[in-house]
Symmetry: C2
Subunit: 207 residues, 2 copies
DNA sequence: ACACAGTCGACCAATGTGGTCAATACTAAT
DNA sequence: ATTAGTATTGACCACATTGGTCGACTGTGT
């Protein structure tokens, strides 16, 4: 890991980060190709190994960076004073979108890491990941007003149902916009559509 | 494609089919490795190319077989006389489970094909796939009793919400059982859990 | 003119690829 | 026991790709 990497202008740095995260997210660590990364990032092969000692160093850097960013932007940006669960989920989704704008593959990169074998990464990173999980649970469920929900359903189960629903919408949207360049899209109509769905969720799960 | 393949005992044939479907589903056509397939299937390299002319023939055979099977087992097994949408979804899920028992990766194999570039496969297969889509829509939405739903929500949107929810449950279950051998699992508790969730969905979306 | 950081991509040994085929193991009939 | 024929294997092939190196080149500031 070479300090010179931090001295790059952000545009180039992000291009490298995004290319690498996309490759690792899609292929997993072993099958990810550094050739593909440099091609996608538009840099020479030499530069990648000038900035990073080797493939593993790059991977660990991306994990560190991604976990930090998720912790900061995703969860520290959530205030737990609003006790409405669905609003809480809405805000988390909005924060994910913010991250997505700058690093389109970070969420899925971290996501695939969560499912992967973590025995091969340094303790430091595993620790950071566990901290993230803990914080995530806190931010998602802490100080939620149970009395908003209908009394004839199990609220814990409703949490799950609502989260699955929102994830489902996110997945569909991702598939629908798969071919488009992200910055060419006006997101407001989708934000509206999303909020319409949330309104239904409130109507059916709340009393 | 060699007729000898059909003369194999079903256990061995299914082992090959499953190994290949898993590899193609996980890696995509290009990156899928025939070495990995024969290793997973427990056969010698030569046999694969004795049964199938080449990698592409194998892939096309799996598509044909998978699409046929999905069409038959998944959709032809659904009767549209029960007009309850959630029950309909339950039955489709049960059918998926049946397929999963024999071919654990068929659903995701077909699923990744749906998202992939289909320009490189024969017309015959694309046709079959389009027929499957058409049939799927029919079987899922035909003759549904709209009056079961609450009057204060858009029923079409409710369809989507319910489907996302069920997919979310299926995904979670898949992740939860990822390490287990499928035939060692008693599925009844999960079936019960699933039905509990569906009961909530009925309570909140129906009137 | 010089120094020097930044950048590239041809190149390397090693590994993996789809596919072949001579050599076996197995089966059944004589 | 011999034969014929089929089922099966894995070493092997030419070729592509891998992670990583390094000498050559560019651009900038002095």
């Amino acid at each position: 890991m070479n300090d010179k990497f931090f001295k790059l202008d952000q545009e180039k740095r992000d291009r490298i980060i995004n290319a690498a995260m996309q490759e690792f997210a899609e292929q997993g660590y072993d099958k990810a190709s550094t050739n593909q990364i440099v091609k996608q990032a538009g840099i020479g092969k030499g530069m990648l190994f000038y900035y990073f000692d080797n493939k593993q160093t790059l991977y660990h850097y991306l994990l560190d960076y991604g976990l930090d960013m998720t912790l900061d932007k995703l969860f520290n940006g959530i205030d737990t004073s609003d006790r409405d669960f669905i609003e809480r989920m809405y805000k988390i989704t909005e924060q994910k979108l913010e991250i997505f704008k700058q690093y389109p593959d970070m969420i899925s990169f971290i996501g695939t890491f969560m499912l992967s074998d973590q025995s091969a990464v340094p303790d430091r990173i595993v620790k950071k990941y566990e901290e993230l999980q803990k914080k995530g649970l806190e931010k998602a469920y802490e100080n939620i007003d149970y009395s908003l929900f209908r009394e004839d359903i199990d609220v814990e189960k409703a949490f799950k149902l609502i989260q699955w629903t929102i994830d489902g919408y996110a997945n569909e949207l991702k598939a629908r916009l798969h071919n488009h360049k992200f910055n060419e899209i006006d997101l407001d109509p989708y934000r509206q559509e999303f909020y319409d769905y949330l309104a239904i969720l409130k109507r059916v799960y709340y009393q």
